[in-house]
Symmetry: C2
Subunit: 181 residues, 2 copies
């Protein structure tokens, strides 16, 4: 979901210019030269889960760009009309076809460089049957030692997994708020 | 930040139609009839704080629509280029002019009806000097009994305050994930 600059107004199609609005806003916005509509651009949420069974965590090998062939936790862009938890469950179903029970929020990671916030929920797997969708080459369980740490798709996945295994050793799960440069 | 339907392509200005994309996506998207760009619309994040001093919490009386004259926690739309925590701190500075130290994530509330996720951080106030900006009529501290519960601007503020005072009585703060119908 790459975002190029706004060039035209979504309401009327006329060109926009980037300038300060007249309402005291301190940031330049794309403003329509014809109908004056102010167009805002804001961060996007990526929602997903840490699906686990005992000591092992489920990872999916990506069949899509970016990071084709790299391993990830099931996650994707949150959609309108759903809660963060519903989106995380939907992505886990779509990408892994797993059977699970969501247990709670686990990590909230801001990635300002790409304008995203990633939210991961803990999901206890109910069995080892997976049915990955078309976005996934393979879905399988990894112990901490087996995780392909050098082949993970995203920093947010790495930071979430590190905290998950650490908390599991402690025997208690926190909720982690993380900033990623 | 009301969002009307997309009528024109932000890249080329031509009309769009809402239909299923050709990439396996299962949701209708606004797709340009000329350059074929697919335009996505996703939930927005509102970031803010629960600024507190001892037993009391800082609320701001809104000088803007919606909910002019109602009381709220300092919060606003997260911007590109900042973390959720940075956005929460910025809004607290802009709306209340408070001096504070952020202590940690406190609540994550999904509001699918309006396509938003609200994130609140605990902020310990360092003094009682406030300098509200133009979006705020008045900023003041309220004990739990003094909070104008019937005059709060948003459900997410109410749900966050209820959990804050409950945790404060317990003597330990959790991180709360809440869905609001
Ligand atoms: Zn326009
Ligand atoms: Zn176009």
């Amino acid at each position: 979901m790459f975002r190029s600059p706004i060039k035209h107004c979504r309401a009327c199609g006329a060109p926009v210019v980037y300038r300060l609005p007249d309402d005291g806003d301190t940031r330049e916005r794309a403003i329509c030269t014809a109908c004056r509509t102010v167009h805002y651009e804001n961060p996007l949420n990526v929602v997903g889960t840490v699906p686990y069974l005992g000591e092992r965590v489920l990872l999916c090998k990506r069949n899509i760009e970016p990071r084709w062939g790299k391993w990830t936790l099931p996650a994707g862009f949150m959609e309108l009309g759903e809660t963060a938890l519903q989106g995380a469950a939907r992505e886990t179903d779509e990408e892994a076809g797993a059977h699970f029970q969501i247990e709670g929020l686990f990590s909230v990671l801001s990635v300002p460089r790409v304008g995203q916030v990633h939210l991961f929920y803990r999901a206890r797997l109910l069995d080892e049957q997976f049915a990955p969708g078309h976005e996934t080459i393979e879905a399988r369980l990894f112990s901490e030692a087996e995780v392909p740490w050098e082949e993970l798709a995203f920093r947010t996945v790495r930071e979430t997994l590190l905290r998950f295994f650490a908390d599991q050793r402690l025997g208690t799960f926190g909720v982690h708020s993380v900033d990623i440069d």
